[in-house]
């Protein structure tokens, strides 16, 4: 698989992860060593095969559409890095 540095940087931005030049280098090398080659993917494109997203899922289980008890607010907020009595606190949204 061949990607440009710009594509790696764009993907990292989409993932909200910053990558150092060294990490970028390592990732490019790992991608280059990826065992499925371009011609293999091209061959698959020509095959009329449906996609599989999940293993054997017999039926989708849906919870009944009824109001139920939620987690208490204190439990919801217990792992928050920053919170007041009722809200998650975050930095301002705009620069």
């Amino acid at each position: 698989m061949h990607f440009s540095r710009e594509e790696i940087q764009k993907a990292a931005q989409d993932a909200r992860i910053s990558v150092s030049a060294q990490q970028e280098e390592e990732l490019l090398a790992e991608l280059k060593a990826f065992p499925l080659q371009e011609d293999f993917f091209l061959r698959l494109q020509k095959e009329n095969v449906e996609q599989t997203c999940y293993g054997p899922v017999e039926e989708n289980i849906m919870a009944s559409d009824e109001p139920g008890a939620s987690l208490p607010l204190s439990e919801v907020l217990q792992n928050a890095p920053d919170a007041d009595e009722s809200c998650f606190l975050v930095p301002k949204v705009v620069e």
């Binding site: 993907a11 993932a15 992860i17 790992e30 899922v57 989708n60 987690l71 890095p81 620069e95």
Partner: protein, 482 residues
């Protein structure tokens, strides 16, 4: 070098020679045994922790007291796993312990609910000793977690165990463990440590309460030293969960002791052409095939043209799912947070510091191959490849009772090696295991132990809902000293 058998005398604690079923009976009928059991548990878990560094969190010195308290509350009832000690992968939620998932991102995270399987085990009387170390978010098992610790192998000092849970079972500290198998991690760790592993059919055990990264591949599974313990635990937890959309109807499961129904076994004819296959594994596997033939099993070498593309297809699909599943670790609702001048900067700083290098690379890989430009070119084709692999396996299992391969192409790697030494995004350790995850089929790793060598595993992939057949053949082979 310190090779198998290396388990020291202290391992053979009071409960080491008892199966889970026998242990539960003793605990119920004998109060004196409960006292001894609590003391033995403290001694065993402490020495295993000191020796192998397998727990990420546990009761420590309070474990004996805790054991007595929990068991005395339940002793009057008829519970199949009463007092049977076990551990959980740190990626499975329990209310009693944090779930750091081997990541700085979730260090000190305390789940507000527990996994359905853990609730069922608690209802069955099993005693949770603690949480066991995993690679970050359970992604593979070759690399130490970014939290710094790596668990040593009780059957090969200087080598990795693959997971804290496998080391806990192999050292005899606990009777069984519950872990997560996404690309084959559970079976691989079992192979390294010389124990049994069962990855059930997809949806057989509820996934509620698993903190994973690839929902279409991951499945909770069981590690144990005995096949009968796999059966007992599976029976208790393979129950439909009304709150898990991927949980399946509870199906009939009744293994008939050690009488194997499996007679016709398929072997991929290209099994020995895996580039990372070590000579030692190749030789042992070839010997085992001869032994099986001599025992009267019908073995056929069949063509599976797509089977060995599974690690690459699985890696690509898991990366895309990880890009999505791990997107909610942003420093707002839980986990670590790095301060930023504004929200976007906080997200990026938090995620850059919170994820280790391998997870970061994996997530970026997922973002790349699912981007608008590459979605059709790579992601869609990998999904089609998944269809071909699944079809191939289902066709094979119509004609044969199971498919047999080595579990991992090599024995436990040395401590300190990085995943990139083994191919990075390619998951070479999953050369034989990934296909079962892609197809959602059950697979069992059977331990092969021989004096003077590191353990390795044989993998039996069975038919959908065919867990009983797999456990039966494992019991049969064990009885025959295979």
């Amino acid at each position: 070098m310190f090779l198998y058998p290396v388990i020291e005398e202290e391992v053979f604690a009071i409960y080491a020679h008892l199966s889970a079923r026998e242990l539960a009976v003793e605990v119920k009928k004998n109060e004196g045994f409960r006292e001894k059991m609590a003391a033995a548990l403290l001694q065993k878990c402490s020495s295993a922790q000191k020796e192998y560094d397998l727990f990420s969190s546990w009761y420590g010195e309070k474990i004996a007291q805790k054991y007595k308290e929990v068991i005395s509350e339940k002793a009057s009832s008829d519970k199949k796993l009463l007092g049977v000690p076990y551990v959980l992968d740190d990626t499975i939620c329990s209310l009693a312990f944090p779930a750091a998932c081997g990541s700085p991102m979730l260090q000190n995270y305390r789940p507000p609910f527990e996994a359905y399987a853990v609730s069922l085990l608690s209802r069955a009387g099993a005693f949770l000793c603690g949480k066991a170390r995993v690679a970050e978010f359970g992604l593979g098992c070759l690399e130490e977690s970014p939290l710094g610790a790596v668990t040593a192998n009780p059957r090969g000092k200087g080598h990795i165990a693959g997971s804290g849970a496998a080391a806990a079972v192999a050292s005899g500290a606990v009777s069984f463990a519950l872990g997560v198998d996404t690309t084959g991690e559970l079976r691989e760790a079992a192979s390294y440590c010389g124990i049994f592993a069962l990855k059930p059919s997809y949806g057989a055990i509820s996934r509620r309460g698993l903190i994973g990264f690839s929902p279409s591949l991951e499945q909770a599974g069981i590690l144990a030293s005995r096949s009968s313990d796999l059966a007992l635990v599976f029976q208790e937890i393979a129950v439909r969960d009304p709150q898990d959309a991927t949980s399946r109807e509870t199906f009939s499961f009744s293994p008939q002791g050690d009488q194997a129904k499996i007679r016709k076994i398929a072997v991929p004819k290209d099994w020995s052409s895996v580039p990372s296959l070590h000579e030692e594994v190749k030789k042992v596997f070839a010997d085992k095939l001869e032994q099986l033939t001599a025992m009267g099993f019908e073995l056929d070498y069949i063509s599976l043209p797509h089977f060995f593309y599974a690690p690459a297809a699985g890696s690509l699909l898991a990366a895309v799912e990880a890009f999505s599943s791990l997107a909610n670790y942003d420093g707002v609702r839980f986990g670590c947070r790095e301060e930023g001048r504004h929200l976007q900067e906080m997200y990026t700083k938090t995620r850059s510091r919170g994820f280790g290098k391998r997870s970061s690379n994996f997530i970026i890989f997922g973002a790349l191959v699912s981007s608008g430009k590459y979605y059709d070119k790579y992601f869609v084709q990998a999904q089609k490849l998944r269809t071909l692999i699944k079809r191939e396996l289902l066709a094979c299992l119509l004609e044969y009772d199971c498919l047999l391969t080595p579990t991992v192409p090599f024995t436990a790697p040395l401590l300190g090696r990085k995943a990139s030494d083994h191919g990075g995004l390619n998951f070479v350790e999953a050369s034989y295991t990934m296909a079962a995850n892609l197809a959602g089929l059950p697979a069992l790793s059977y331990p092969v132990l021989s004096e003077g060598s590191l353990p390795l595993g044989l993998q039996f992939i069975g038919r959908d809902k065919g867990e009983a057949d797999l456990i039966e053949i494992a019991s049969f082979l064990k009885k025959e000293n295979f």
